[in-house]
Amino acid sequence: MPAKAASKALKTSKLSSTSTRLSRFFFTEPLPMSKGLSLIFMLLLSLSAHAENWPAEQWSTGPKVTGPALEALESYAFPTRDDDTRQGVRTDALLVIRDGQLIYERYAGPTTADTPHLTWSISKSLMATVLGVAYGEGLFKLQDPVVKFYPALENHPAITFADLLHWASGLDWQEDYEYAPLKSSVVAMLYTRGHRDMAAYTAGFEAYAEPGQAFRYSSGDSNLLAAALRAIVGPDRYADYPWRALFEPLGIHHAVWEADASGTFVASSYAYLTARDLARIGLLMARDGRWGGRQLLPRDWIAFNREPFAGYKAHQDAAVPGGQWWLNRALDGATQPWPDAPADTFAALGHWGQALYVIPGEKLVIVRYGDDRDGSYQHNELLKRVLKAFAEKVQP
């Protein structure tokens, strides 16, 4: 059933069942005690579920926010834009969801509400979410050796799914993008030696550490996951799986996911979504993998995504790695990566300033697309100003 119809059906059934039960409860003959209690329980359950906002074909909009805090946010996110020098903060899209409703949205440059924007490494978190659905189908376990599903990893048989999800394969990968093009594994993978079969290219690397011991951010690790997914769900289902398993149930109709010549999704870099659609993934994550009445991702999968990797040493990266998501956690005596945001904040982050931030405690989901070519954009600064403008609770 298409998501739109499903969500409509869900609403109607809840409404009608609530009213039927009400009338039966109050106006018909007395019910046996146990049945009456269970009906009250069902009624409370359906009322509380109904109070939740979920997007249908479009997001419903919440109360509009104005004032100096919003102006401060906009002056940071949308300064005068220079597309010729490409300097400074260049936000393409900023969108805020609170409690399941759209409360702020603004676009700049060529990007509109209909633009499927390149997410770069947000794709990694998206692939993890797709894998989560397959995990929920019981098709693999976190401690399974990946070679079981991707035989090209035969030289590295000890690498598990948990290791790849933690960017801890132990493969000797160099992630630098622009500054060391000759030695950059990721440039070679995307554009030259590796582009025909990115996972096979990654599998050819030597190990520098035992799997699961050390963190080293690697686009190759993410593409190995994408290659393993083929055998996990079966080759027949593979080409449609991200749409069937994740995008369609969430009502996402215009996702693009480029693959390499071997047909493997470029999980490291090449998924494209509109800002409104990416926010749906954020809401799914904010609500522990539940979409409407359906637990799309198992709760223990989300818990794994949000658990800091034990082998991570403070300051190895800009945020703390969980399972293909980034966490705002204080570790090893180091402060939180984004001190002005709550500790439960987590994010999917991509090159040139792409970000999907989820703050479950504040019921906030924030999508920020950009084209930042210098280091001037700061996650903490944006989060601070968004929280000031939109958080309902008073910040400490």
Binding site: L118, L182, V256, E258, A259
Partner: protein, 109 residues
């Protein structure tokens, strides 16, 4: 002339020779990376322009500025009917092709 005498009489030539040997050794070790290197600019430009133009549906002018790098490219053909982008630079040519609504662009072959 013994090696020691050569070193004494021509210290600079010796140093240059040594450097040359080191450089050749490094080049041999990095031969795969060095051989692939000239492809970067044309492959990057073709792929990212194709996706900018035909996946994100941005306009031509914006996409040209979007893919601009410090290295120049020599040839640029955007076949908008076939949604096919071919770029040459540093002696190499690469093509990216738009494949479909869900598949986006891919480097060829």
């Amino acid at each position: 002339m013994s090696a020691r005498r050569f070193v004494r009489r021509r210290p600079f030539a010796t140093l240059l020779l040594l450097l040359l040997v080191v450089l050749l050794g490094w080049g041999w070790q990095e031969r795969a990376a060095l051989w692939a290197f000239p492809d970067i600019i044309s492959a990057y430009t073709a792929k990212e322009y194709c996706s900018c133009r035909y996946v994100m549906n941005n306009d031509v002018g914006y996409c040209h500025r979007y893919v601009k790098q410090w290295l120049p490219f020599s040839g640029f053909v955007d076949d908008s009917a076939g949604k096919r982008v071919t770029v040459s630079g540093m002696g190499r040519t690469n093509t990216a092709q738009w494949l479909g609504e869900r598949q986006g662009c891919r480097l060829q072959p």
